[in-house]
Amino acid sequence: MNPQIFHPFVLPFVIGMAFVLTYCVVGLLRVIGQLPKDDRKKFWRSLVTPKTAWANVRDLFGDCLFHVKIWKRNPILGYMHTAIAFGWFMIIVIGHVMLFTLKPLEGIEAQGVERMLPNFYYPIFYKFFATETPVFAILMDFFLLMIISGILIAVVKKIHSKIVGVKRVTKFGFADNMIRFALWTIFPFRLIAEKTNIMAFWWIYSIDLCVFMFMLPFTRYMHIPTEALFILLRHAGLKPREPRKGYALAQLYSCPSCGLCIDACPMSVNDSNSGNTSAYFMKKLRNGDKEEAQRIAETCMQCGKCVAVCPVSIESCDIKMSQREAVPYQIHSDHSYLDGYTCTDTSNVSDKKACVLYFAGCMTQLTPKIMRAMKQIMEAAGEKYEFLDKDGGICCGRPMLLSGKRAEAQAMMAKNTELIKASGATKLVLSCPICYKVFKEEYHLEGVEILHHTQYIDALLKQGKLKVGKNDVNYVYHDPCELGRAFGVYDEPREVLENVGHLRKAKSEKELSICCGGSLGSFNLTQKERDEITENSVADLMFNQPDEIVTACPLCLKTFARKSPVAVKDLAEVVAGQLQ
């Protein structure tokens, strides 16, 4: 064989590449094979539905190529990642385009080879095999330097992450550290090999690539090939059913362990808890450390902030829930006592359809001032209303779901559904975002409009049914996790507050708001740990020195009230106080 067309030093790269490709194909088949049948159908259908297909194309380019989400989160990290990933991609693409313009080295022509034949290792080692064409060569060098600039930032981040605006980074094991080192050295070696053309460096460069490829499936860099599959599955609207199978498996492999969730997690306020963040959960689950994964899943508050900041949009909260369902507590609930229970009496309401059904929920029962305020508001607006749980009532079922017990939760949900349907009302107003989430997601209440009281009050104000006066108090609004991040109800409460007073901004708002620390999602956090989270969250809200903290969740209200230096009120209370 002609030495200018083949040289043994390309072998490590070729073998590594073949390994990665085989692994990816097998993995792809495995993930798709593990999907439940209806999910698989949904997936195939989503690929040809124009709307999801367009979303797929948009995100494949936006997320996999240009890393838009990292840019939004932190421009320095955005550049770092784009420089390395996009730069590498461009080198490969340009290399392949260039194949058609390359001229063989002198000497080969004499042997009858007129043009370089396309060959997949040429773009990687092109300078060894061919004379370059000027324009492409400049482009190639440009992108290679861009990658190296990205690596320099990565090295700085490794030495002192605070320079690039990251407080805590993920702690890696041996394999992850080694592959990172392999990745960092690939490009400098390529540069040296190309510029000096010393045989030893070509060998090192090829072996380095080989090491990277062989370690890739077992380390965080598996996110490079998997993310594309994950985007397609995500847009198909799937939910993880089992923690380590199918869709969840694709997510586990797509997690790059970047650690952006570590700084974001409210629990990280105490350093000893930063190991309970999603990055570590995904790692533990992926490595099969079931006990640790279970412990983290149960410690998590399910506030959803890690999902909001994730540059890959990994739904770690859903995976944690499926982990909880996989290993449920051995509490065998028996709620048969609910069978004969009826509490609403709408028999004397003439027009049942116009009647607003109000469900306070357990937490609001503990904060009766919210109930009183809602009563005042509904009366002032001249609404016909009925309480679903005037004295007592049944839990909405979300806490039971959070403990991984779906069947038991469904027993309670069925009872509540029966009561709501029996009332004949078409509008259900809730004061507790915890209830709101489960009513929206799990209940089947066709023909009943489900509203949180922030939305309801906002609508009443807009319809002119409610008249309020404006005072001079400066409010700051805390977004409850289950209302804000889960359903994007950010504007309604703020608009209501603008009507009754002045709104000041918190340091972290909307999808970045910090959980109050009272969350029902966590089973393991002690009161002391919760208090630390609350203090941090209050400090964040007090950033612009507001006179009062306003929230829309009875649990947040109770949690903040213990630690806040100023008064904490529910939105309904504030509005009720300003009624005219």
């Binding site: 507590y329 051995q330 509490i331 065998h332 609930s333 028996d334 709620h335 006592y337 609910l338 229970y341 357990c362 937490m363 029962q365 503990l366 004295d391 007592g392 009532g393 049944i394 839990c395 806490p399 039971m400 959070l402 403990s403 017990k405 309670m412 009272g518 029902l520 089973f523 393991n524 956090l525 002690t526 009161q527 002391k528 649990l555 109770k558």
Partner: protein, 103 residues
Amino acid sequence: MDFGFCLSPSSHVKMDSVDLTTFNRLKETNPDINTCIACGSCTATCTAGHFTEMSFRRILLMLQRGKEDEAKKMIQRCMLCGKCTLVCPRGINIRKILLDITR
């Protein structure tokens, strides 16, 4: 005085012979249990207690007396809503303890 018969079954608990393994295990994993003052706030707010005899305060008492089966039976009523945890003046993670009893 023992006549050899009585109207109601004896509720006498022999503390020397009761089996406290569950309670002791619980105390190890949830040391905050020791701070309980048996105020009964948990029972007063209990959602399930509205319909049944469910009472966390009594569950704890049962465990202290080795009546594990009775305690576990009562836990079946629980809705895990977490109101008890929220109102506890000692900040005891009651929901976690309830779940741990059944572990």
